[in-house]
Symmetry: D3
Subunit: 199 residues, 6 copies
Amino acid sequence: MASDPDPLQDFCVADLAGTPSVNGYPCQPSSWVGDEFLFSSKLATANPNGSNVTRLSVNQWPGVNTLGLSTNRIDFAPGGTNPPHVHPRATEVGIVVRGELLVGIIGSGDSGNRYYFKVVRAGETFVIPRGLMHFQFNVGEEAATMVVSFNSQNPGILFVPQTLFGSSPPIPTPVLVKALRVDAEVVELLKSKFTSGDP
Amino acid sequence: MASDPDPLQDFCVADLAGTPSVNGYPCQPSSWVGDEFLFSSKLATANPNGSNVTRLSVNQWPGVNTLGLSTNRIDFAPGGTNPPHVHPRATEVGIVVRGELLVGIIGSGDSGNRYYFKVVRAGETFVIPRGLMHFQFNVGEEAATMVVSFNSQNPGILFVPQTLFGSSPPIPTPVLVKALRVDAEVVELLKSKFTSGDP
Amino acid sequence: MASDPDPLQDFCVADLAGTPSVNGYPCQPSSWVGDEFLFSSKLATANPNGSNVTRLSVNQWPGVNTLGLSTNRIDFAPGGTNPPHVHPRATEVGIVVRGELLVGIIGSGDSGNRYYFKVVRAGETFVIPRGLMHFQFNVGEEAATMVVSFNSQNPGILFVPQTLFGSSPPIPTPVLVKALRVDAEVVELLKSKFTSGDP
Amino acid sequence: MASDPDPLQDFCVADLAGTPSVNGYPCQPSSWVGDEFLFSSKLATANPNGSNVTRLSVNQWPGVNTLGLSTNRIDFAPGGTNPPHVHPRATEVGIVVRGELLVGIIGSGDSGNRYYFKVVRAGETFVIPRGLMHFQFNVGEEAATMVVSFNSQNPGILFVPQTLFGSSPPIPTPVLVKALRVDAEVVELLKSKFTSGDP
Amino acid sequence: MASDPDPLQDFCVADLAGTPSVNGYPCQPSSWVGDEFLFSSKLATANPNGSNVTRLSVNQWPGVNTLGLSTNRIDFAPGGTNPPHVHPRATEVGIVVRGELLVGIIGSGDSGNRYYFKVVRAGETFVIPRGLMHFQFNVGEEAATMVVSFNSQNPGILFVPQTLFGSSPPIPTPVLVKALRVDAEVVELLKSKFTSGDP
Amino acid sequence: MASDPDPLQDFCVADLAGTPSVNGYPCQPSSWVGDEFLFSSKLATANPNGSNVTRLSVNQWPGVNTLGLSTNRIDFAPGGTNPPHVHPRATEVGIVVRGELLVGIIGSGDSGNRYYFKVVRAGETFVIPRGLMHFQFNVGEEAATMVVSFNSQNPGILFVPQTLFGSSPPIPTPVLVKALRVDAEVVELLKSKFTSGDP
């Protein structure tokens, strides 16, 4: 699965302050680049709340520019969830580092929206094909942590509830009434739970 | 955007009855192939109901095997909708052939789930980046029709309401309660509107 | 078929006035971009002459930059033709919207230059593998229109007669005499029908 | 330029007698494969006629299967030509090994069909972008030889005169009359010079 | 960086017992596939020796077939090393799960073989561009563990010492004498430390 | 094998003096570009020493920018060698133009580091899969020359002895002692034969 184009040099450390450029960040001149860009300590900072995503896409880790990979750490409190979401530009492979997570993946329409799931425990792994909807849910008594990697430097994410009910500006209610087959007041209730800019 | 691998021959007409093969269908031997495989009449069959998708992916049109393109026609009754959905493996470009459609596209989280929209009229076109959620809604008084093309022979589709509420087996209610921030009864109401296998 | 590299962000609306950049246009800053770039009305302008191509490549539609798709509309008078041509960087899928067109495609040398053809009528579709020579010819009594899509933002086009006989500067006559196996005066006659810059 | 998909193993020597398979040949089992498949002596066979192409695509050299490269040797008598042609699936890089060749390349319509050319001498090199029309013509007093490589295991070739005038079955004369802007008798004269299966 | 071709369906679980197929494994029929293929417990099995690689390429985890990602766990005793090696078909991103590892990466010749290095501690990450030589060395007092992911289902590995001195059959000594600029007896000493099949 | 992204225009002649840009060089404006960029005479300059590489990557030949191909000529004195090396970003196809060369290729660990070899004579060809270690050694009485092509505009090269023993700064000796299974003095002897910047 070829999410990103191939690199054309050993490294192209992103110049995040550079002027906007086609399809990725411009490279920093070699003379600006020290030894550190291939390494990152950012995942070491714990964020032990309900569910917290520590991202290492190219915006957080310029060293992965043009390299076609990035990584995230997600911490879950008991009962915490990483709600149904889609990565539009990458497949994901993950490992549970501690705790136990229900991992659910829903196939496309051709599969009859088959729901695949398993409680994944520490040391076990899972894979999410590109563009499919999936979620994690901490079903253990304790906090849980997973580390995931993507085959894109910028996989993107769209949390489905936020996308349906918290977009900016909002999707018109009649569209959602027709799509969800419920009354406008149910749609308004759902919209009231999400606000624009709320992650 | 490179959705599909490159072809390695002029044509590889899919042998849909062939044994399962890696990443696409096996080619029919040249001697089985007449002149017709590069052409299809299937989009000519009208299905003028509320909203009807006539698909021409590789399963319906074996001639596009390895060619990295496919096409659909969608017909809309007045008030009909092609509800919020995602194509996991392709970008889409479309043209409205008759009528007028509200086309809505919601950006990923990095855009703050920005909602882009326009009423698109006959002869006008739109483009949907790969993996983003989008919908069409017939806001005209008359029936409407659009033709869309994808840069994959099998773009896939996941209708978001069906994926959330009509998967097989269902996503557990507590997962959706947590994700949608509403009571179990609202989730159960939504689930009751969709059944597995319902397109 | 992977004509274009993958995108690395939701959108990268082309800055057509930007300085030249590697392999595509630079992105406009997000703050310059309104809501309209995902939509285009340019195909709605009718050009009902002998044969007229209304192009929507990235040069005409900056919103498709990095998205790996583009589209054209071609209008034909009775007897009009879209003469033999090649798209060097894309496969093409097309639908006849009105009228009836003879669509001809010639396979590569490995096929013995097999000529595939069909009269394609309104609602019917065809596909042209990347880099193969093909043409359309209006065999109906009425005007005809087709809409085609490409899996590249800039598929390119080389009209074979113009390329052979109307290049700038011209291909030397002895080269064409040898290639076409005719006298210099036949080559000169053919060259006289085409002038540089003539589409 | 990504003409072919990436390999997924060190080697996949083509089983040319295998049943037809998607997008390339099936691999031979490792136990069938000796040491020789990475090497080929076929270009060493001289064919010193007017113009003779010795091909080493995957059909002639199974070892390049999935590796994304192939190579040809072309020998030219004085005055010999490799007539205008297009490779639909690959860029070409070449070196003149002996003699001197006029190499001509015609840009796409966006360049106004610009004709690029040079007399290339022994030891000098040229590059032909994918899908553009080009030719070589021996302008020296002696025989000439060039070696070219492609970034596809099966670049394909369509010799333009043969494709226009020698396809099987032939392109209808009225189509060529319209396209070439000459009388039917000129078209018939040109067709008489080429026969189906004639390389 | 596009190591692998794109998938053409949601899943293509590898049939490892299948007949050899082009560029990857054939898909299992859907009816053979249960729910488990997207998950793996194999990394949970500890192998706490000097340095032990637990691989999850497609050969160990058929579910990643066509998905363009795979993963490994490596355990290190104190003083253990994952010796200098190259992955010919993938970039690698890694996280140290416990302990502290010296991670060294040597740039290509264009960089003057620049040596990049850092002691990477638990929770910290590193990235290795495709095809570059690199190693890990446990510089801590305790055992260490890292988890790495690749953007290929089968990245391949060539341990440099084993490749130079333990190939089967061996590289001739005069070749290595010339390359390493030492006497034959030094080369023979090095060869004596490695035997074919020794990992 | 898709080493480089696809081009998005006919040509993009590299502006080597341009500011650093993502994943390749920026294009020169068309008005700066003469006719010569598709041709190069640099391989015609003989360098008949022990072993001399005349490179035509994008840095030496700006015209191949975005085209996914490049080429080298290597001249060998009797007994000369192109020592074991790896191209991290490309497969290589080569032809021996004069003389006779031992060509050796070592498979990855999955093959048990299988050593493939042949004495390749003038007119014969070989192919090296991406990322595998390989070498050439002149076993003839006379000078030898080969021409090789790569399916990347910048394949990169890492000479293994220089990378192990001549990096800048050096790899720590204890790492190499552990990896090579010999005493520190043998490692120091090897290091003494190579100095940083020495090709």
